[in-house]
């Protein structure tokens, strides 16, 4: 029985339960000639909730744990002597990787996926058992869900009486639903942080955190063979973070004034018609895929800057920080302008009227009344834009360099944290080399930096709030 069918049946049951409950509530009210505590629909919803929710919760947990259990049973059912990649061994003597490979082969064969190595009788036998067990598990789950749904239906259906506060109970269920939704978001964040943390810990057992955080040299190529040249394997993250900072600063120098001025023009000066056309056009910028920005930066802007530099006798790298930063800044403009525009518009018109009424001009009003009132929001918007710039990947992957250089010269090629994460993780990485694991350490630090930025942004906003409201 497929999961789709099970869920469809559950949905039908839920709908039926709703109408049953509502009908029963009406009948009870008519028979007793009394007023129900809640509208009949709430009784129906109450029944429906108790049919659907327990069964769904069971479904989710079953799906989450069934594969581990089924695999365990299949494993225990295998004969004592097994062969993996042509090697025949005692089952208990297998290394964890070999055990994993065998199980994966069985599961892959059962689901029609690619099997590595020879398809042995053992694999076929295990796969057959796996399929049987899986089907059985689905039936047991369906039965258990049916029982839960039936209990829910019976109990709630019988509890329908004029005094039962179905409306309040439905309200509670909605509350719990909302709480679960917010918990999911938080738990996901926690999960991401934990996975980063564990891989980063693995990295820090190989490279000391002090070397990583304060080292001035970054060269993640580690030697595979003893006699390999050009693979020093230095993991000092300072130059990488310096590159990120440099590009971010350039991007903000572009994005903050342009974005802010555009927002001021649009919200304070532009006529309604102009604003209605210009604002969406500006927001189109935000819709351009970053990879497109990336090759624009790499193929158009970077050579232009290099040639312009050459014309006035400057030596500019083809993958200069300036090109990447400029384009990143342009990408962020709509971010800054759109947020600032909303914030400036939120400044009450009465403040502007007050200022005009005292004979102030438009620009005086903007500088001395509107912007101060909007400042906390604008600072928040800028800090958000900064964390966006720090985390931006595609543009720098394409337009910034790969070699980590500790410099503040915008004409040099620099690399960034995100570029290093991408290059160290793409391809076919081995997860025991510090080169691969360094990506997680970089990711962790990057995450902490943006987290701090966001916290500061919130703090700044709150501080100014206290002052102005």
């Amino acid at each position: 029985m497929s999961y789709g069918t099970i869920l469809a049946v559950l949905l039908v049951l839920t709908v039926v339960g709703f109408y049953l409950g509502r009908g029963r509530a009406r009948a009870v009210a008519a028979a007793g000639r009394t007023r129900l505590h809640s509208l009949p629909g709430f009784y129906g919803a109450h029944v429906a909730i108790w049919i659907a929710l327990p069964a769904l919760v069971l479904f989710v947990f079953w799906i989450a744990f069934q594969s581990a259990i089924v695999e365990g049973i299949v494993w225990n059912g295998l004969p004592d002597k097994v062969s993996v990649l042509g090697e025949t061994r005692q089952k208990e003597a297998l290394a964890p990787e070999q055990k994993r490979l065998l199980i994966d082969n069985i599961v892959n064969y059962a689901t029609g996926d690619i099997v590595s190595g020879e398809i042995t009788a053992l694999v076929k036998q295990g796969a057959a058992r796996f399929l049987r067990l899986q089907a059985l598990s689905a039936w047991i789950m369906a039965a258990a869900m049916a029982i839960l749904a039936a209990i829910g239906l019976l109990v709630t259906y019988r509890s329908i009486s004029p005094a039962m506060r179905a409306r309040n109970r439905v309200e509670r269920a909605v509350l719990i639903l909302l709480m679960v939704a917010s918990t999911v978001a938080i738990l996901t964040t926690v999960g991401i942080v934990l996975s980063l943390l564990f891989e980063a810990m693995a990295f820090f057992t190989k490279i000391s955190p002090v070397d990583f955080l304060f080292g001035l040299e970054w060269s993640p190529q580690t030697a595979i063979r003893e006699d390999q040249v050009g693979a020093s394997g230095a993991f000092g993250a300072i130059p990488v973070f310096a590159g990120t900072m440099l590009i971010t600063v350039i991007a903000m120098i572009v994005a903050v004034p342009v974005g802010l001025f555009a927002a001021i023009y649009l919200s304070e000066y532009a006529s309604r018609r102009l604003r209605a056309t210009v604002k969406p056009v500006l927001e189109v910028l935000a819709g351009i895929p970053t990879v497109v920005y990336g090759f624009f930066a790499a193929l158009t802007v970077a050579p232009m800057i290099r040639d312009a530099g050459a014309a006035i006798g400057l030596s500019v790298a083809s993958e200069s920080a300036l090109a990447a930063g400029l384009i990143m800044g342009i990408m962020i403009i709509p971010f800054v302008s759109s947020l600032s525009d909303d914030i400036i518009n939120a400044v009450p018109q009465s403040l502007r009227d007050g200022s005009y009424g005292l004979g102030a001009t438009r620009s005086e009003t903007i500088r001395q009344v509107v912007l101060p009132a909007a400042l906390p929001g604008i600072v928040g918007a800028v800090l958000l834009a900064v964390s966006r710039a720090i985390g931006e990947t595609m543009i720098v992957v394409m337009a910034a360099g790969l070699s980590a250089k500790l410099t503040v010269n915008p004409f040099d090629a620099v690399t960034t944290v995100t570029v290093q994460i991408v290059t160290n993780l793409t391809g076919d990485p081995e997860f025991d080399s510090p080169k691969t694991l360094s990506a997680f350490a970089l990711g962790l630090v990057l995450f902490l930096v943006t987290l701090c930025l966001n916290v500061i942004a919130l703090r700044v906003v709150q501080k100014y709030r206290e002052k102005y409201d």
Partner: protein
């Protein structure tokens, strides 16, 4: 302009008013359109110097619109079009050569809701003088601020905390702060758009007293929904209805012996 038929809606000078009456602002046949909507029709009204003129009428009658024409605040609304003659001391204020900024400095405005800037009490009052460069040194500015706060009857309450945010004051204090802010620029006329509508009765009484004191030095035009307030604070009253100026005259006359039946109906509470 030479309409000599003695309609009740004609300016007082043309209907033979008191001899000490000097016209500060003169308006003739003022029409206002918001896009297609004709918001104000042929309003002709004189505002006497150093007295309080109250504009009354039901909601949407155009009294606030008229008030906002007097210092060209309607300029900030794109779709608004004003025609007719509006003069301050005989000068057309809608003339192309008029500097709106200067005009608004001489015709101050106080709004319905207190709208102190998100600045300190001191900076709120100093805003106008700073914008117009009305002082030569710091002690000058302080003098202006203190005098304005005094005239607005707020100084004693805030003298120890001039650095506090203006928004930390109570509603009534905020409104007096806004009046001080308007006074600080040195205006000749002060326009008040329902200045007490968001205040409690005690704060309202305080503002009304203040308006009476300010009459010594300023010409005041006040829009109000409260007929008691108009009767208490004003010398002249103008009654607006659906964009028309129905009747104008001495306040006691309007309230005790209205000539027009619509005025009669409004002040006795039959509509509005």
């Amino acid at each position: 302009m030479e309409n000599t038929t003695a309609s009740p809606a004609m300016p007082a000078e043309e209907t033979g008013a008191a001899p000490d009456f000097r016209v500060k602002m003169k308006t003739r046949n003022v029409n206002v359109h918001y896009a297609e909507k004709h918001a104000l029709r042929d309003v002709s009204l004189d505002i006497g110097e150093r007295e309080v003129t109250a504009l009354i009428g039901p909601s949407g009658c155009g009294k606030s619109t008229f008030l906002r024409c007097l210092n060209r605040m309607n300029d900030t609304i794109d779709i608004c079009r004003v025609t007719g003659v509006l003069e301050l001391d005989g000068q057309d204020i809608y003339d192309a050569g008029v500097d709106v900024v200067q005009l608004r400095a001489s015709i101050g405005m106080v709004f319905q809701k207190p709208n102190p800037f998100p600045k300190s009490i001191f900076d709120n009052v100093a805003y106008g003088p700073r914008v117009h460069g009305l002082f030569s040194n710091k002690s000058d500015l302080e003098e202006v601020v203190v005098q304005s706060l005094r005239k607005a009857g707020l100084f004693d309450e805030v003298k120890d905390r001039l650095g506090d945010p203006g928004t930390s004051l109570s509603g009534g204090q905020q409104q007096r702060l806004c009046i001080a802010r308007a006074i600080a620029v040195g205006p000749e006329v002060i326009l008040m758009d329902e200045p007490c509508s968001s205040l409690d009765p005690i704060a309202t009484a305080r503002i009304e007293e203040l308006i009476d004191e300010l009459r010594q030095n300023f010409t005041i035009v006040i829009v109000t929904h409260s007929m008691q307030q108009a009767a208490r604070v004003s010398q002249k009253t103008a009654f607006f209805h659906l964009g028309d100026l129905i009747e104008q005259g001495e306040t006691p006359q309007i309230f005790t012996n209205p000539r027009h039946e619509k005025t009669q109906g409004y002040i006795t509470g039959r509509f509005g």
